[in-house]
Amino acid sequence: MKGCDLILANYGYKDGSGEYFITIDTDKCDGCGKCVEACPGKVLEVGEDQNDPLNENEVAFVTEAERKKIKYTCGPCKPASNRPELPCVTACEPNAIEHSW
C-alpha cells in the first residue's frame, strides 16, 4: 500500500504577470513518454525520478532548460480564444499532467 496517492512535482515559476506551473503527478505517471512525443515545444522529458531516488520507475518531468520559460514555450498551445485541449494533457492516458494557467 502506498502512503499517499498524490505525488506532485510542480515545475515552473511565479512572476509579476502570473503563475506558470506544470504539475506532474509522478504517482500516476507511468513513464510511457507519449507526452514527450506530443509536445511541440520539447518541454517534457522522461527519465529517472529525480525527486525520489528510491523510485525505480521512470517518470516525466519538465526539462531543466524550460522550467524558467514555460510561459513562452507553452504559449503557442494556448491561444487566447478557442483554446483547444493541450496536446500533452490529451496524450497522457493516466491524467498525470496539469497546467496552472
Binding site: G3, C4, L6, I7, L8, A9, N10, Y13, K14, D15, E19, F21, Q50, N51, D52, P53, L54, R67, K68
Partner: protein, 299 residues
C-alpha cells in the same frame, strides 16, 4: 584621516557568517559498517556531512567559492578535520545542491528537493510535513510524508529576490552584521510598511531612499524582512501548508524574517539542535546509506 576610516570600513565584511565544523565525540567511526558522505554545494554555502551507519558523525559548513569542485573538496576536508578518518574510508558519496554535477568525488547526484525533505525528516524528526528551504539564491517548498519522501514540491529559482544572498547584500549595504539583522529588525517602535520590492537591485535603491528620508536603519531592516516574509509566503501558499512546519537553510537563522512569516501563517516552526544549513547534505548522506544498504550503491 577620513580615508583611513574608509579603509577600515571596507575591511569589515558585514555579510560574512562564520564557517563551522563539528564531530560527534561519542561515535566511533571505526566500528561503523557503512560510511557515507553527502556534499551539498549551494550557490552561497557548501556543506559536507559524514554519516556512520545512518547517524551524523561529522559535518562542515562553509562558503562556496568561485570553483565548485574546489568548494566540495574543501567542505569534505573540513568535515574530516580532526576525525582521523581517511577520505578513502567513505563507501559512498552523494552530491546535491545547485552545484551537484560539479562534485568530483560523488558517486551519484540527487536533487536538493529530495535531500532537503529527507534531511529535515532527520534533523527535525519525522513529524515534519512541510519543509521550507530558503537558500542562498532559491527557495523551495516541499510537502513530505513521515518517511521524508517528497509528495508535493515547488522550487523558485528564477529570481533570487527574498533569498539569502539578497539578505547578505542588504546587510552589507546597511553595515549591519548579517547575524544581527533579525534581532535588530525588532528594535523598532512600530512595524513599518514592507518595502514594495524584494528584488535585490531595486531594494538597494529603495533602502537608500528610505535612509535619506530619515528612517532608522532598524526600521529599514524591518521593512525588508517583512517584504521577504511576504514573498516567501506567496510561494508556499501554492503547495499548501500542513503541520508540522520546519525551515531549513540559512534563512532559518534570521528571526526577523521567520517570526514575521510565522505570524502570517499562524504556526510555530519546529526547533532543532542541528545547524539548519546542513539539511541538504544530511539528506544526501542518508540516501547514500539507504542505497548502499539496498545494494543499489552503484559506483
Amino acid at each position: 584621516m577620513a580615508e583611513e576610516v574608509k579603509e577600515n570600513d571596507e575591511k569589515q565584511e558585514f555579510w560574512r557568517w562564520t564557517e563551522s565544523n563539528w564531530k560527534n565525540p561519542d561515535l566511533k567511526w571505526e566500528d561503523a559498517k557503512i560510511i557515507t558522505a553527502g556534499i551539498d554545494v549551494g550557490s552561497v554555502s557548501s556543506q559536507a556531512v559524514i554519516c556512520a551507519d545512518g547517524e551524523i558523525f561529522a559535518y562542515s559548513n562553509m562558503r562556496t567559492g568561485s570553483d565548485s569542485p574546489e568548494s566540495a573538496k574543501n567542505a569534505l576536508n573540513y568535515a574530516l578535520e580532526g576525525t582521523n578518518m581517511p577520505e578513502s574510508r567513505i563507501d559512498y558519496c552523494i552530491g546535491t545542491g545547485y552545484g551537484r554535477v560539479n562534485v568530483p568525488m560523488a558517486d551519484r547526484s540527487i536533487t536538493e528537493i529530495a535531500c532537503h525533505a529527507r534531511g529535515a525528516n532527520f534533523i527535525y524528526g519525522n513529524e515534519v510535513r512541510t519543509v521550507l528551504d530558503v537558500g542562498g539564491q532559491d527557495c523551495k517548498a516541499i510537502r513530505c510524508d513521515e518517511k521524508g519522501k517528497v509528495i508535493n514540491f515547488l522550487m523558485n529559482d528564477k529570481c533570487a529576490a527574498g533569498t539569502g544572498r539578497g539578505m547578505e547584500v542588504f546587510a552589507d549595504l546597511l553595515s549591519v552584521p548579517i547575524v544581527d539583522v533579525g534581532e535588530r529588525s525588532f528594535k523598532i517602535k512600530e512595524e513599518p510598511t514592507p518595502v514594495s520590492s524584494t528584488c535585490v537591485v531595486y531594494a538597494k535603491t529603495e533602502a537608500t531612499g528610505l535612509l535619506r528620508k530619515g528612517w532608522e536603519v532598524n526600521e529599514v531592516l524591518a521593512a525588508y524582512c517583512a517584504a521577504m516574509a511576504e514573498r516567501i509566503y506567496s510561494l508556499i501558499e501554492r503547495i499548501g501548508i500542513e503541520k508540522e512546519f520546519a525551515i531549513t537553510g540559512g534563512m532559518a537563522k534570521n528571526v526577523g524574517v521567520i517570526d514575521r512569516l510565522m505570524k502570517i501563517i499562524k504556526m510555530d516552526p519546529m526547533k532543532t539542535k542541528w545547524d539548519t544549513q546542513i539539511a541538504g547534505a544530511v539528506g544526501a548522506g542518508l540516501f547514500g546509506y539507504t542505497l548502499v544498504q539496498k545494494g543499489k550503491g552503484r559506483k
